[in-house]
């Protein structure tokens, strides 16, 4: 702790000086021993497994979509360290206010792949994440979710609950006014929210350089009087440490934190996107060297604790995921009522009338056959 009650990493890695928190390098070597989080071997291996699971699920999703069995999907490839590190620090009582690219964290909160598949298959029942406690649906209107998170933070504080709110946005999203307003309110209200910017270098085709002239994204915290930190988002240990520190800070009642996780979207923006239009293969390859899975695996191997039959595990995961997908795919029931049912807690006459009209049409159609 420093003078201002700020955890040391926020001082040592002051974003104004454009420093970045790192624990291991691309080869999996520890470069900051004193920062290495205290995790037992099993936990570290579990983390790897979770990252692997996310990666496989993600690949699977992309391939289902290519097969025409699912609509537009937003890949997570390359950003798994962030998601799993967050997932390991988010508790059941904590809140997750997602953007649309943090599958691993959703899974950690209890969202099922089946539900996710159902959602990307075009059914709102998947998107409701009904099995997961304290998880909001995916926010598509970029920036708005940060404000929801701040509001939940107020509510947590008001009701004196021991809950932390985790929320995510992309690098592009930092340009939206809602982003700034949310952080500003969070600063004034001192709410227990961990805000993450997943800086994956692109907003669809627009590189982060064209997005803002600030030295980095974590530094935007300065404008709102909350601590910020830039972290190597492909370094699982750095992300783990950042989230552990940030969530403890938030829980202690000292307020919100902004985490910039520097990463790279190795895949396409969505399954309708073609990244070759706007970026070079060399760039992708360069970033490929920082792949969070490879790095963590190298670390584990170098520690001599690797005990996974990765091929077998991969097969297992694929099968599990396939099962969930088939489950979702078979669930194609979408009754007419679902269109009207959830708009209001008690359906207004206007909606009843509109539904009845449609049913009349259906029976006319039936008769005509």
């Amino acid at each position: 702790m420093t003078q201002n009650d700020l955890p040391a990493i926020f001082c040592d890695y002051n974003p104004i000086e454009d420093k970045m928190l790192q624990v291991i390098d691309n080869e999996g070597n520890i470069i900051n021993k004193e920062l290495m989080p205290e995790l037992d071997d099993e936990t570290i291996i579990d983390a790897y497994k979770l990252m692997l699971y996310e990666r496989i699920a993600d690949e699977k999703a992309v391939s289902y979509q290519r097969q025409g069995r699912m609509y537009t999907y937003t890949p997570n490839l390359g950003q798994e360290a962030i998601h799993i590190a967050a997932g390991m620090n988010i508790r059941k009582v904590d809140w997750l206010v997602p953007s649309f690219r943090e599958m691993g964290t959703l899974l950690a909160k209890g969202v099922t792949m089946k539900d996710m598949f159902l959602f990307y298959n075009g059914n709102e029942h998947g998107g409701s994440f009904k099995n997961a406690n304290h998880v909001l649906p995916i926010a598509i209107s970029i920036g708005t979710q940060f404000q929801h998170a701040t509001g939940i933070g107020y509510s947590v504080k008001y009701r004196k609950k021991d809950e932390v709110v985790f929320t995510f946005i992309g690098d592009g999203g930092t340009s939206e006014g809602d982003f700034s307003e949310a952080l500003n309110f969070a600063g004034v209200w001192k709410v227990p929210v961990v805000f993450t910017i997943q800086n994956n270098q692109y907003a669809i085709s627009v590189p982060v350089k064209a997005q803002t002239n600030s030295v980095n994204l974590a530094v935007k915290s300065v404008a709102f009087g909350i601590p910020g930190i830039k972290v190597d988002g492909n370094d699982f240990f750095a992300m783990y440490l950042a989230y552990k520190t940030a969530s403890e800070y938030a829980r202690s009642g000292r307020g919100a934190v902004l985490v910039e996780a520097l990463t790279y979207r190795l895949g396409a923006h969505t399954t309708s996107d073609d990244p070759t239009k706007y970026r070079k293969k060399e760039e992708e390859e360069l970033w490929g060297l920082t792949d969070p899975l490879i790095r963590l695996k190298r670390y584990i191997e170098s520690m001599g604790i690797w005990n996974i039959d990765e091929e077998k595990l991969t097969e297992e995961y694929k099968q599990q995921i396939d099962e969930q997908f088939i489950d979702a795919e078979n669930n194609k029931s979408y009754p007419l009522n679902d269109v009207f049912q959830y708009m209001y807690t008690d359906m207004p006459e206007e909606l009843r009338r509109q539904k009845a009209e449609y049913e009349q049409f259906l029976s006319w159609k039936e008769k005509r056959k």
Partner: protein, 320 residues
């Protein structure tokens, strides 16, 4: 009306710890129209407080509160400053319940003064009810008397759906009416037949009710019997009351301050057609604002709907 709304807020704050009120200047100052006066003192700064100046975040954070157990009531300072929050309202407030398939309700009230006739600067005289009413997932209501304001506000706060509560600022302090101190509610979604009549139906709401009443006096002097309906709820709209009245009178005039195109007037005419086509004896008519910006004070006289203008249209309809 200011007092009646204040009283409604007071009653609910007292009753339900989960209610919080915030917005620009609602705390220490008690709101620029004093609607929240005294509430911060009584309930503390954690429950009634000033927010930073950002409408989107006021609404966006309220949504976060609403899905996590609170029942926020937010004030937007004027109707013209609701639009920075339009995206949050349309994209999230109105949709979260549907998006989450009922997992997350959104019990919140967004209240703001609206309407013209107060010699104001730009953005302080508009009537944007149609914009909100076209958004599925919202309830949009407008009281025309202190009594209604109180009963509707309590109902709005108790509603588990998000409610846009529009307050006709022109009559904030203009209508004196004794309102019971007790708690009572009025069902949202129900219009009120202000006065029965047989020749023509006049549908209005908010500050226009009073103007219609003045016009009706003129009509009565001319032997015309007018049925006046206070719509009260813009969405859901009370088809039944409109239908019954228009079937009875065969004529309808809609009086409202908003721009006439794509308005509540358009919708009411559509409803009259759908529900009472065979009964119509004259074309339903909109007496509404132009498709122009509401003029500043010197020009507002042309824009504002006067009782004689309403009477003129009543007469035209009856003599069609």
């Amino acid at each position: 009306m200011v007092k009646a709304i204040n009283n409604a807020l007071d009653i609910k704050l007292n009753e339900d710890k989960n209610i919080v009120i915030y917005g620009e200047d609602v705390g220490v100052e008690g709101g620029v129209f004093r609607v929240t006066e005294g509430l911060q003192k009584k309930y503390g700064v954690e429950r009634v407080f000033d927010s930073p100046l950002a409408e989107s975040a006021i609404v966006g954070t309220a949504l976060g509160m609403a899905v996590s157990g609170l029942r926020p009531i937010v004030e937007l300072q004027f109707e013209g400053f609701t639009f920075p929050a339009f995206n949050q309202i349309l994209s999230n407030v109105a949709r979260m319940q549907n998006r989450s398939r009922g997992k997350y309700g959104v019990p919140m009230v967004i209240r703001f003064p609206y309407g013209g006739g107060v010699n104001a600067l730009e953005h302080h005289s508009d009537s944007p009810e149609a914009l909100f009413a076209h958004i599925p997932g919202l309830k949009v209501v407008i009281p025309s008397t202190p009594h209604d304001a109180k009963g509707m506000m309590i109902a709005a706060i108790e509603s588990n759906d998000p409610v846009i509560f529009m307050e006709p600022k022109r009559i904030y302090r203009a209508i004196k009416q004794e309102v019971s101190d007790e708690k009572f509610t009025l069902p949202l979604g129900k219009a009120r037949v202000v006065q029965e009549g047989s020749d023509v139906t006049v549908v209005a709401f908010g500050a226009m009710i009073r103007e219609c009443q003045k016009a009706i006096v003129m009509a009565e002097e001319n032997g015309i019997s007018v049925e006046l309906i206070d719509l009260r709820s813009i969405y859901p709209i009370d088809r039944e009351t409109i239908r019954d009245s228009v079937r009875k009178t065969g004529r309808m005039i809609v009086v409202a301050e908003a721009h006439e195109s794509f308005s509540v007037g358009s919708e009411l005419i559509a409803i009259a057609n759908e529900e009472a086509f065979l009964y119509l004896e004259a074309p339903p008519k909109r007496v509404m604002g132009y498709d122009t910006v509401v003029p500043l004070a010197q020009g507002e006289k042309y824009y504002i709907i006067s009782p004689d203008r309403i009477f003129y249209e009543i007469e035209k309809s009856v003599h069609f």
